[in-house]
Each structure stands twice: as C-alpha cells, then as structure tokens.
C-alpha cells in the first residue's frame, strides 16, 4: 500500500472535511463548559481527523499535514495542565481551584473566562498529541517482519 496508490477521491474528501472538523474540534474545546464537549471531545475530533489524513496519505501525509512532534504536544499539554493547577496557588487558592473573569469581547459579547479552560486546553493538547503519536507509531507503512534484537 503505497501512498501514491491511494484513492484520490479519499484524499480530496479528507481535504473537504478537514476545515469543518478543525473548527468543530476547537468549538468543542471552548464550548465544553456550558454545552456538551470539552477538551477530550475536541481533541478526539482532531484525532479522528488525523486518522482520516492517514487513510488518505499514510504516515507521510500525516507528517506533512501535522508537522508537530506528538511528544511535544503531549508534553506541553501536561505542563499547561499542571501549571494551571499551580497557578491557583499564587492568589492563595488551593491547587486547581478555578476562578473566572467576565470580559467583553467584540464579537461574542460578555464572556466568562474560566481558568478551568486553560486546564481543558492542556487536556486538548494531550489528546491531540496522543492521537498523533499513536497514528504515527502504529500506522507506519510496510511489513516490519524482522525485529531487531
């Protein structure tokens, strides 16, 4: 199964859905606090997109489309989540205690920005990184019959 022999229809189909899926993924991340969604679902949507890219063009395509290292995403996600927790300590709160501020944004109007959102971003990054890492690792081409000793 070389990437050149893959169906061009599949490839163009992926390109078509890619945009909406990315938007959906990010929407889920931010909407999660009040609507169904959240970092997990958002990240998993991105993950499904990555597996679609793989279906269209194999790991090479995945590398091309997502030029990030999976480990970097996951590491950053963990650090963001942990730092969100520690950040609560600064104003004298407990670890991971959340607070919110209301801000007025031009398009969205008054929005409550919850500190838990940053935590959710960390989750999101880890989940995306996970999907990327697994697809890259297990989706590798070829039949690697011989194992190194």
């Amino acid at each position: 199964m070389k990437s050149t022999r893959r169906s061009a229809i599949l490839e163009s189909g992926v390109i078509t859905v890619a945009g909406p899926l990315i938007v959906f993924s990010i929407y889920l991340l931010f909407a999660g606090h009040n609507q169904p969604g959240g970092g997990f679902s958002g990240g998993l949507v991105a993950g499904v997109l990555i597996s679609l890219v793989w279906a269209a063009g194999g790991t090479a395509a995945v590398r091309r489309v997502v030029p990030l290292r999976a480990t970097l995403l996951m590491g950053t996600g963990l650090v963001v989540a942990a730092l969100t927790g520690f950040a609560s300590l600064l104003p004298g709160l407990v670890f991971l205690e959340s607070g919110y501020v209301e801000v007025s944004l031009p398009v969205f109007g008054d929005v409550k920005v919850v500190s838990a959102l940053f935590f959710d971003i960390g989750v999101y990054l880890v989940v995306v990184g996970m999907a990327l890492g697994l697809v890259k690792a297990l989706g590798e081409e070829g039949k690697p019959m011989e194992a190194e000793q």
């Binding site: 169904p36 997990f40 996970m130 297990l138 690697p144 019959m145 194992a147």
Partner: protein, 126 residues
C-alpha cells in the same frame, strides 16, 4: 437501573471472560474491551436510568441524569483507550518477535513444572 441493561452488562462480562480465557492475543484484547464496556455500563447503572442530560442551561426538565457516573465513565473510557492502544502495540511487537498471535507460557515456570531442579543444583542447595 433496568433489567435489560443489567443483563447486557452481565453478558458483556461473560463473553469478555470467555474471550480472555484463551490464547489468541487479539481475541484477549477484544475480550478486555467487552469487559471494560461492561464495567462502564455498571457505573452508568449506579446513576439514574434514562434521563435528560445534566446540562443546566439547556435542559432543566427532570429527570436530570446523575452527572458523576458520566464523568467517571468518561475518564474510564479514555484511560482504557490509552491502555488498549499500548496493549495493541504490545501485541504487534509480540507478533513481530514470535510470529504468532498467541499468549505463551512462562518458560521458567514450565521448566520447573516439568523437570524440577537439575541434580547439580540440588546438590549445591543441600
């Protein structure tokens, strides 16, 4: 809790058990998947029955589902996914190393079960 869902959970556990008690690794993994579905279902059954989603601003008509089991199941699903992914990689690795998709016995245990200790070791020990 409803009788049908309890039965589904029980059957998921039973089929899962049936599958993990044999030696084909990929079937063992599938069995584990069924068992964890069953366990998740048990947690859901710990909450309320069929109900409306616990999303306060959208629906407030009772009955509202108990959110805690949902959160637990969500966590459990994701954790199980991570470990299943790892197990799949392990299965692939195992297949690449041994050429079979079977769970093999521990060599040392087999040796002791079959032969006991060799004479020289016995002597050294006495």
């Amino acid at each position: 809790m409803s009788l049908v869902m309890l039965s589904v959970a029980a059957i998921l556990f039973a089929v899962g058990t049936y599958l993990i008690l044999q030696r084909t690794l990929s079937r063992v993994i599938i069995g584990l998947g069924l068992i964890s579905h069953g366990a998740n279902l048990l947690i859901m059954l710990a909450g309320s029955g069929p109900a409306n989603p616990p999303v306060i601003l959208a629906t407030e008509t009772p009955p509202i589902a108990d959110p805690l089991p949902q959160a637990m199941v969500l966590t459990a699903i994701v954790i199980t996914f991570g470990i299943t992914a790892f197990l799949l990689a392990l299965a692939l690795r195992s297949y690449l190393l041994t050429g079979t998709d079977a769970v093999e016995d521990d060599i040392e245990d087999r040796r002791i079960a079959r032969h006991g200790q060799s004479e020289s070791e016995r002597e050294a020990a006495t």
